[in-house]
């Protein structure tokens, strides 16, 4: 559940389009097979499932089915490179946002990738999202006649345990790394899927907020395709792009960033 006091603390910025990395760095060649296990773990999150099919196309395509199929194929591609992988679900079930977050937050050096299929958008394109940086509440009262007094102004609740993360805002410490991962992924995906945007977008995706690790959401367009095979055919290039981006991302993450383990008591 969401702590009521924490609700007001994470202001959400308007969606922003961010420039692609100044110097594209992803390796052009196919990644080599790693001889040893990578020092991080990729958490793949096939969204929805169970009673929640997610986006539903007119031809009967369910988002939850397709993303699970994608996740299994991406898992295989990553494991071939010696990268450990966990799925937040590997069956037609629907874990809660927090259950999915717990899979990542219980592990050091996790990388969280949530997989989605959209209802709309240009079929065959792929977008990457990371969380925006929180914006503070307005500094001074605006001078306007309004329904003043009907509701109390929101007040951000201070973290009583500085140095520990609150569950509800666990992503706050990882926004820069998530953005960097999103940029690497979007660069790769735009190469593989023509028409995709050149840069990721900053959007308040709920699932990402409680992840204490670099976390992104990837959304493929869309369940509106006439034939499911059009989506299935995207799994290979999607896997390749994720493998490339994760391998490129590893040095900047493992060498510098912290782990997920410390949370403020009582926040979850």
């Amino acid at each position: 559940m969401i702590a009521a006091g924490a609700l007001l603390a994470h202001a959400v910025a308007a969606p922003q389009t961010i420039p692609p990395p100044a110097a594209p760095t992803a390796p052009a060649a196919a990644p080599t097979t790693a001889a040893v296990t990578a020092p991080f773990i990729v958490i793949l999150d096939p969204a929805h499932g169970g009673a929640d099919p997610g986006a539903h196309g007119s031809t009967g395509i369910n988002e939850s089915d397709v993303v699970l199929s994608f996740a299994r194929q991406i898992r295989s591609a990553l494991q071939v490179q010696g990268i450990s992988v966990l799925l937040t679900r590997d069956a037609d079930i629907d874990p809660s946002f927090d259950d999915r977050s717990a899979v990542a937050n219980a592990r050091d050096h996790a990388i969280f990738v949530s997989l989605h299929i959209s209802s709309t958008g240009i079929p065959g394109t792929v977008r990457v999202y990371s969380l925006p940086i929180a914006t503070p509440p307005p500094a001074a009262p605006a001078t306007m006649p309004s329904a003043a007094g009907l509701l109390p102004p929101p007040v951000a609740e201070a973290n009583p345990h500085p140095g520990l993360r609150t569950w509800d805002n666990a992503q706050d410490s990882f926004l820069d790394l998530s953005l960097r991962l999103a940029q690497l992924l979007q660069t790769q995906l735009t190469q593989n899927f023509r028409g995709s945007p050149p840069a990721p977008a900053l959007v308040a995706v709920r699932q990402l907020r409680t992840i204490a690790a670099p976390a992104v959401a990837i959304e493929v367009s869309s369940v509106s395709v006439a034939d499911r095979r059009q989506l299935d055919a995207m799994a290979g290039p999607l896997s390749d792009a994720i493998v490339h981006a994760v391998i490129s991302f590893e040095p900047s993450y493992v060498s510098g960033a912290g782990s997920a383990s410390a949370f403020a008591a009582g926040a979850h």
Partner: protein, 210 residues
């Protein structure tokens, strides 16, 4: 054929003719209703959210953000003439009502036709609270892109016409909702007239992958 059978046949024939006539008249009536009458959504909106009119209303141009023509993933501004109040709360209600009801084409719609704005407040610090009916959550297409376009169309439309709103909180039927339709987080606030948060410059990669 006996006389009784002849009478019965005659009565039956009269009834069939009358039935056919009534059926055709009924079809005409239904057809007329479907072409001329308000849609269910419009009729419901007229009851739940009647047209907002205030003494200070003046006809003025208002910039609305709907889907760009022929686009599934981008908004475009459209300027329409609206009767707008000088009161920011009433003005906000007027532009959101227009955003729901007056999209140039159904394909350009960003909010469900059945959605209604139940309440709208503006706090002294510039925080606006928009309370929408359940239809906003239930009928917005599920997906990060579609949900973000919905939120974006609301915040950009408000920003264009009401400059005193700094940020927006969206409620669904008076309650805080975890998400709009499964993806976009509604527990926080959306910037309206606030400059977007600075985006950190991407750090150059340390090394390339092995």
């Amino acid at each position: 054929m006996s006389r009784r059978w002849a009478i019965a046949t005659l009565i039956l024939a009269v009834l069939v003719v009358a039935g056919v006539y009534e059926f055709r008249a009924l079809r005409r009536h239904v057809s007329q209703l479907s072409t001329e009458g308000p849609s269910d959504a419009e009729a419901r909106r007229d009851v739940v959210a009647p047209q907002i009119s205030t003494p200070t209303d003046v006809l003025a141009p208002a910039q609305m953000f709907w889907l760009a023509p022929g686009s599934a993933d981008a908004l475009a501004p459209v300027t329409i003439q609206l009767s707008l109040s000088t009161d920011p709360v009433q003005r906000s209600k007027q532009v959101i009502a227009a955003l729901i009801a007056q999209s140039p084409t159904p394909a350009q719609r960003t909010l469900p036709a059945d959605a209604t704005l139940l309440q709208f407040y503006i706090l002294p610090d510039g925080t606006a609270i928009a309370d929408f009916s359940d239809e906003l959550a239930n009928e917005t297409p599920s997906g990060i892109l579609s949900e973000q376009l919905t939120v974006d169309s609301i915040t950009r439309t408000l920003a264009a016409s009401i400059h005193s709103i700094a940020r927006l909180k969206i409620l669904i039927h008076g309650q805080e909702s975890d998400t709009l339709a499964g993806h976009v987080d509604l527990t926080g606030f959306f910037a309206v007239n606030t400059p977007p948060a600075p985006v950190p410059a991407p750090t150059p990669p340390a090394t390339t992958a092995p």
